[in-house]
Symmetry: C2
């Protein structure tokens, strides 16, 4: 299906949606062996065609350089032989993951004689909107397919040549398994309005998963009519409680900030109980200073570590994604909880404490997609949680919350196994 | 909080939302005993104040009569002593249901040493938009509270006096349990624009549950910015397979249509495999005729039962909610599946068959919130499924699908129990 075969972008996108909806009935029906064969064939094709992928990518990179796009952009766009191998390896690993589709749970007899349970089934058609990162193409196609869905991929237009080369490998896998190529479609136009059509196509698309920066996600949130699985910010906190073990506190608060600066699960604000601020902040801040982390503190934190800059109100709201950390001393456990409720992004928050009651209250009362006790916020991802792979992290409260893996790409329906039961009693 | 205390409807609704958000932190924290005490106190207050409730309701009914609203409307609006008792009994039963909040599941050790699991927690703030049916007020307030949520109730303005009288009882229960009265708020204005503010208040409201007719739900679907748990249509099918047991086929197809005509889980289209049409349709249609059901059939159905009217294309799309049934003879199992995919509303569909493969394929391939084998579609509700109570039925694919009970009014977050773990390996 090519955009040039259609008289407008709207009719092209509608045809893509309609073909995906049709393909979704076949992917939903496909058995595990067929889906796994598709995935392993895709992996083999990517390995075999590595040279062609790298060549297509080199042309994308050249065009991006000519447009003077920045170094970080070029870095995300560039495929190396090792990234190609990682794509192939990712697809092979998906083949090894358990298939969630068809699982029946909670089958329970009812007084009427019927048995009621739930069956896990694919969502249907997934739209993935992402930036110019070609490795996402194979990853997203594989995960959506394993969960029994058809997928429409809309990657950044600067990666279009790379993505189309990857799509050749993906389609080879689908054909090998007797599945329609329309189960994985690339939107083959650089026109940005294509995204607008996709995210409003309630008739053909069941859910949109945006992957990318904040401006992309904000645009999609505001324009979408289709439900969106997403997170916007990761303003993550570590709270060092009055009863924190000092060794654990320093080790976890160091790792949560400095292991990597860019991920969404990196700590952006450190909260410290007043009773332990004088003991914990000096050794911790010495570590941060040695690692080049800029500190922005409240007045009480600066009284303990005067070298800190003064934090402004907006620091508490900010996801730095950089070696910068906001530090606040709180009066009490309750003030820590209130701070997180007010300034947090409901992504990932951790407490360090030896006190059981504080740990249990923190787990229950902090309304975030992941809440941790005595562990680094950096653990909040699908691999570390054992999902095998993840399509993203969600701060939605409905459906998929936190790291989203295969299960988040499926839903459950009620099933009833009867033996000639009819309703008798009349209810209103 | 009264609308007259505010300078505009927008500021009033925003204050209601903000108070609900605040109250939700307390209802989320409330233990099971407190919530149950609130529910049983509400039930006792409703029984004690039955006379006052009936009197307030009589004034609503009188005003509705003066406005010449129709008989069905007046019927839904009118409280009888028995409906008041049913409201109280419903609240008592909710107190007896297991509390979903705080349940921890799937706690599993990971290679890193952390333990990862899920904790069930309230959604937060629920908005319920409904028509002039005062019994919904107590029901919705009780269910939302038991699931740990704050709720904003916006009932039809013709029932405002009744609803405010019920709210007095609900608030007595909240006070008795030490919970804020703002945990259950009635929107105390007949201004229809209040609904518009409520369903766009993403900052304060986590989910909207509309209960009512199709025009109400359509309006909310189109205007809402907050996620909506809803179903629009219940175009439910019974498919009598080639391998249907004739006795079961007649009994189930009779019950699915005629036990009650108005519910959303009543069959609206009967599909019959061509191999059994000549045997099954005559006895079944005789029953429908005796019960006064108008039949509208395809050409092949009319060849077997000539007394049927001719079905038009739009009949296959129609939720009659009345003693009318569309009847179609299909060539094959696959054509039945295709018909349901094309014309159905993904609500509830049943197959009658003795064939195991057909039963299993129907369960897996029919993409509806409830799929039944050898049982009447009329079983598709929260009481029959063992949920104890339901706030509605959802045809959404995300989050809550099918009958929605206490669990559908909660969500899960990830919890991590660590012992000083930090992230080591660097991933991209």
């Amino acid at each position: 299906m090519k955009p040039s075969d259609f008289d407008s972008l709207a009719t092209y996108m509608s045809a893509v949606g309609s073909a995906a909806r049709q393909a979704a009935t076949e992917t939903a029906r496909a058995d595990t062996a067929a889906k796994n064969l598709a995935l392993t064939t895709m992996a083999a094709a990517i390995r075999r065609q590595a040279a062609a992928l790298l060549e297509a990518n080199a042309r994308d990179v050249e065009a991006a350089r000519a447009k003077q796009l920045d170094a970080a952009f070029i870095d995300r766009l560039t495929l190396k032989p090792s990234t190609v191998e990682t794509m192939a390896e990712g697809l092979s690993q998906m083949a090894a993951l358990p298939d969630p589709v068809g699982t029946i749970t909670d089958l329970t007899p009812r007084p009427s004689g019927i048995q009621v349970g739930k069956m896990r089934v694919p969502l249907g058609v997934i739209g993935i909107v992402y930036e110019a990162r070609p490795n996402v193409t194979a990853d997203a196609a594989g995960l959506c397919l394993k969960a029994g869905n058809a997928v429409i991929l809309r990657g950044g237009s600067e990666a279009l040549r790379s993505n189309l080369a990857i799509a050749v490998c993906v389609h080879e896998g689908l054909r090998a398994a007797g599945l329609p190529e329309t189960a994985v479609q690339m939107v083959a136009t650089p026109d940005r309005e294509a995204v607008g059509h996709l995210i409003r196509d309630e008739a053909h698309v069941d859910v949109i998963v945006p992957r990318g920066g904040k401006s992309l996600i904000e645009r999609i949130m505001h324009e979408a009519r289709v439900p969106v699985i997403k997170h916007l910010d990761g303003v993550c906190h570590v709270y060092l409680d009055a009863d924190a073990d000092p060794g654990k506190a320093v080790r976890i608060a160091d790792n949560a900030k400095t292991q990597r600066y860019a991920p969404c699960n990196t700590m952006e604000t450190l909260l410290v109980h007043q009773a332990v601020a004088a003991t914990l902040l000096p050794p911790l801040c010495a570590i941060y200073r040695d690692k080049g982390v800029e500190l922005r503190g409240c007045a009480r934190a600066r009284a303990v570590v005067p070298a800190m800059l003064e934090a402004a109100e907006e620091d508490w709201h900010t996801e730095y994604l950089a070696p910068i950390l906001a530090v606040r001393v709180v009066d009490s456990f309750d003030q820590a909880i209130d701070h997180i409720a007010r300034y947090g992004s409901q992504h990932t928050d951790a407490i360090v404490t030896e006190n059981h009651t504080a740990a249990m209250r923190f787990l229950r009362e902090v309304d975030s997609s992941s809440v941790l006790v005595n562990a680094s916020t950096r653990f909040s991802d699908g691999f570390e949680y054992g999902l095998g792979a993840e399509i993203g992290i969600s701060t939605n409260k409905l459906h998929a919350r936190g790291p989203v893996g295969l299960e988040g790409l499926t839903t459950q329906k009620w099933i009833v196994l009867g033996g000639n039961q009819i309703r008798g009693q009349i209810r209103t």
